[in-house]
Amino acid sequence: MKTILLGTAIVVAGAGAALAQDVVRLGTEGAYPPYNFIDDAGEVAGFERVLGDELCARAELTCTWVTNDWDSIIPNLVSGNYDAIMAGMSITPERDEVIDFTQNYTQPDPSAYLVMAGNEEIDLEAAVIAAQTGTIQANFVAQSGATLVEFASPDETVAAVRNGEADAVLADKSFLMPVAEEGGDLVMLDREELIGGGIGMGLRESDAELRAAFDAAIQSMKDDGSLNALLEEWQIGATF
């Protein structure tokens, strides 16, 4: 019994040490405001930057930020170039087969359409709709029967509507909201699509310890209301 206890203690201490000595590298896209973007100083900023730094502080980890192209963001996590993804990535069963997710840190954010002003009566089932490659929205449009045009970055999907290449863009509502609020030529449709299971942090399936550490940190932020305050500050969907 004593040896079992001692053994457990060593394992626990070892696990703690393995986590504490490491710098955790957080991968993000840096092109999806308000979730993550590059600010004027050239640094990663946004809701996920603030949230990630707070989660690392609570889990007593040292974290650094890395930007990576959206297309290869999962392969580079799996091959170990960074340790976690915080890139506005919705939790889906397909992604969950390759990587693991923490609990969601946003409520499922409805997806919305943005069209040119004067084009609000468009038939979305027969329209050309822009979405970012490899997102839940692209998946949704592909199955809806509308014509899908895919772009590598979120910014290009909006630009495609402006220059007439697509009739509408489908993306997370909190990403499109600031674009629509800017006034000008783009308006948001009332219709929304409820897809995705909220956004979570993505980790390697073999990294159960790190996942548990972040999961606990997210739970503590949910419990003390600080996560809700952040969601309101950055105007991201509903609170918990």
């Binding site: 590059i38 600010d39 004027d40 050239g42 580079n76 799996v78 091959s79 910014d155 800017e182 073999s206």
Partner: protein, 293 residues
């Protein structure tokens, strides 16, 4: 950057532009111009070295060496650049980490492959995850240089292989008649004379290399095209002090000018080099210069 930049909303015209163009983000694109030039400066000689090695190996009378040289040329030339960049770099990185893993963590239990995950012990990471940001940048850059050198080395090897065969047989026979050894013929006759035949092919390669640098972003190095896209995209006032509509056309226009100027400069230098190398050669170009051939 400047003192008057503290409140960009009150600025307009040139003073706004001078503040806008000196934000930390814009400094990154200026740095990336340097990165691209540095990459070219290191990659070109490295690729030439790979090419020279490949060509010499392919001409070798020893069958295994000749097979290795020809295999290198055939395989790397035959694989699409993007596939090579995506596959080879990840494979190379994992191979190096695996070697370090075997060396530093012999007690590690279980495989480095866990499902689809590639996991090595923390001490074997390349670079260590505790390393400073610039170490990661330098490592990424070094991997990029190596990959570019291998890819363009294969093409250069083929060009040099052809150039070595183009040197007139009579030149080599004369050298033999003088009693030179194979090694001496290679060093004194073949190599000095082959450059003039190799230069048109090599200059093509250089031009392609100059334009291939945007592939850098595939390797995680933030190059000028990445920054042009990032800076040019429409910016909403909520997330920046310098909101603007879609300005990508201006940024890509600037890139166009940069690349055209750079390739033009390259053409001038290469034309000069061609004239210099043709001097005294048994070619039309050499004869036109009034050489003794």
């Amino acid at each position: 950057m400047f003192a008057f930049c503290t409140d960009p909303e009150t600025l307009s015209g040139l003073s706004w532009l001078s503040c806008y163009l000196t934000t930390g983000k814009h400094l990154s694109i200026y740095v990336s111009v340097g990165t691209v030039l540095l990459l070219l400066a290191i990659t070109a000689p490295a690729a030439l070295l790979f090419g020279f090695g490949g060509a010499v190996a392919a001409r070798s009378p020893l069958p295994p060496l000749a097979w290795a040289g020809r295999g290198y040329i055939a395989i790397v030339r035959g694989v699409p650049d993007i596939a090579f960049f995506l596959f080879f770099v990840i494979a190379l990185d994992q191979f190096l980490e695996w070697l370090r893993h075997e060396w530093k963590c012999p007690d590690w239990e279980g495989s480095v492959w866990q499902g689809s995950d590639f996991v090595v012990c923390a001490e074997a990471k390349l670079p260590l995850s505790t390393a400073a940001g610039w170490v990661h940048d330098v490592y990424g850059f070094a991997v990029a240089v190596l990959t570019f050198a291998i890819v363009f080395g294969a093409f250069a090897a083929n060009v040099l292989y052809g150039a070595m065969r183009a040197v007139p047989r009579a030149q080599l026979e004369t050298a033999e008649a003088y009693g030179m050894t194979r090694r001496q013929i290679f060093r004194r006759i073949l190599v000095p004379q082959m450059w003039v035949y190799a230069l048109p092919g090599l200059s093509n390669l250089w031009m392609v290399l100059v334009k291939a640098t945007p592939l850098l972003f595939l390797l995680g190095v933030e190059d000028i095209v990445y920054w042009a896209r990032e800076l040019g995209g429409a910016k909403t006032p909520r997330f920046t002090d310098y909101p603007h509509p879609d300005w990508r056309v201006w940024y890509f226009g600037a890139l166009l000018v940069f690349y055209l100027a750079f390739t033009r400069l390259s053409e001038v230098v290469l034309a000069r080099l061609t004239r210099r190398l043709a001097r005294g050669q048994a070619t039309l170009g050499g004869a036109a210069q009034g050489g003794s051939a």
